[in-house]
């Protein structure tokens, strides 16, 4: 395979391969002057990152503990923890609904993406990079536009349901749009590439000789998959779950474009509270709850992988 071709689609893989390697020992001994240069180069970007991420995340927590009213003298910081209990008790149904929708969508994404990425990583041969690139095609169109197109596909007289109704396969009263099905389908579609990427990275990295070895040792094809490939791809599956589930839970574009009032997700509530009601403390509390949930998931992920990866490496070496 030419190196240029190799590079296109598999940049991600390359990136992962080289990314985590800590600098070599010899480089770690830095002269004082060099260290000053290093910090000097870092300073502008780091300060910006602090201002654009750390400070806002601290302020949203502060905002979530304010009380008062917009019309009655503004909001003041009072350690108002009741914002959290109120927000949670009032909107827990929306959190639950968001978790259910994004949970189902995540399962669907894994189920659809895994066989596809498995085939590309193991059997696509010289078409690997091309196929991988084709999966990224949707990224070249704004996801708002893509979601609007789905609205047209799923509409009652749209491209999919229209003809089916005309030939009588579906009854006239059949709807998809404005149902939970449409929202879940939209989320699944929009997040599928994000599920696919980490899966591909993990499957690509598996040494194909291990599968050969398993088969030489009289494992059936299925056994070789279940006992060798699947466990080795677990880190990718975990990454895919996090990368799909976390953003999907906070999504509000799919539910507002494809759904109805009945499919309102927590993201829509946060957006409305912030942008139309200006109920900042309440909205901030809702947002912080979402952030904490995501942090817990990310920590679980890191913990699991920290031990899992090592165990797997040991297992395959044995």
């Amino acid at each position: 395979m030419s190196s240029a071709e190799e590079r296109t689609g598999t940049a991600v893989v390359e990136t992962v391969e080289t990314l985590g390697e800590p600098p070599k020992r010899a480089d770690q001994v830095l002269a004082k002057r060099q260290r000053r240069v290093a910090y000097g180069l870092l300073a502008p970007g780091s300060i910006y990152l602090a201002l654009a991420f750390v400070v806002p995340l601290i302020i949203v927590v502060i905002t979530s503990l304010q009380s008062g009213g917009l019309l009655s003298g503004g909001y003041h910081f009072t350690w108002e923890f009741s914002n959290y209990t109120d927000a949670f008790s009032q909107y827990k149904a929306f959190y639950a609904k968001s978790l259910v929708y994004s949970g189902i969508a995540t399962i669907l994404c894994i189920a659809l993406a895994y066989p596809m990425m498995y085939w590309i990583a193991f059997y696509a041969g010289r078409w690997k990079s091309t196929l991988f690139f084709l999966i990224l095609i949707p990224f070249f169109v704004s996801f708002v536009i893509r979601t609007v197109q789905w609205k047209f596909i799923l509409a009652d007289d749209g491209l999919l349901l229209g003809p089916l109704k005309n030939i009588g396969v579906l009854p006239e009263s059949f709807h998809v749009l404005a149902t939970p099905t449409a929202v879940i389908a939209g989320i699944t579609y929009n997040f599928l590439p994000f599920t696919a990427l980490p899966l591909y990275v993990a499957l690509e990295r598996i040494d194909k000789r291990l599968v050969e070895a398993a088969k030489d040792l009289y494992a059936s094809k299925f056994q070789a998959f279940r006992r060798v490939v699947l466990p080795l791809s677990f880190p990718g599956i975990f990454a895919a779950i996090i990368l799909t589930f976390v953003p999907a839970t906070g999504d509000y574009v799919n539910s507002s474009v494809l759904g109805s009032a009945k499919t309102t997700m927590i993201g829509q509530i946060i957006q409305t509270k912030f942008l139309t009601e200006f109920a900042y403390p309440e909205a901030a509390a809702l947002s912080v709850i979402l952030m904490i949930g995501m942090l817990i998931l990310a920590l679980i992920y890191a913990r699991l992988l920290g031990t899992e990866d090592a165990a797997l490496a040991a297992g395959t070496a044995g």
């Binding site: 991600v12 990454a239 912030f274 900042y280």
Partner: protein, 304 residues
Amino acid sequence: MSAVTVERETRATDLPPLRKKRRPFGLYVMGAFTIGMILYLASPVFLMILYGFNNIQGERQVPKFTCCTLNWWKNILAVPALNESLKTSIEVAVPAALIATALGTLIGLVLGRYAFRGRGWINFVIFLAIAVPEIVLGSALLSMFVKANDIGANITIGYTTILFSHIGFSIAFVAVTVRARVSGLDRSLENAAQDLFATPLQAFFRVTLPLILPGIVAGFLLAFVLSLDDFVITNFVQGQTNTFPTWVYGATRLGVPPQVNVWGTVLFSAGILAAAANLIVGSRSSRRAARGVAVATVARERTS
């Protein structure tokens, strides 16, 4: 011990014949499935292009497709608010990508090369920037701007705040892209240059910079695309201003004018061309790809 060994013990009594080399039926099914999935993923893109030729009576898209008119391509500039939003998008994306590339490259360079105190913290903030749900980041940024105005700063929520936010989230992605390139670099080349009496600065500009340039270009393009496509964060910090995606979102309530399809097609073609060009320079990736990379990095750094 591997599971494979256990397998052999249980199967040792009835040895099957040696495997024959053949392509099983299942593989063709999976191949067909993959092609089907790729078509499914690309279907809204095809439709977007197709509906740019939709021969409709009014000026808003309808789900029913009627063939065909070039009217919308001829009148591509007929919706002033849409033009305005596209202009804003470009006015944000260009400086955001430039500034983020400058700042992110420096971070990526240092992270990829040196171990120093605080390295873990910077990695953590980059991970945070990439992994935090956009809605949380958007609301946090808006809270910050509101708070700043509360205590006397005079920030207009609009172009400035959009630009500030876009630079912020792009830096992290540029840094990750450049870091990957730098840590994949062969240090001996730079050492060789210094052995041949190049000053450190000469070695950097003559050897290191050309080598990591594809990473920098990829970072720039990534930042540009991210900025152009961002909806959620922009939606929070835009005030009365609109970018292309937020304007389209706002227009969905009444119906989207077909010019959106036309512009979408134009941007899509431009993106494909840029990707093809970048293919020659180096590599191309996407926001989520970088997300995946970031998560993988954290996992790796925990294990290594």
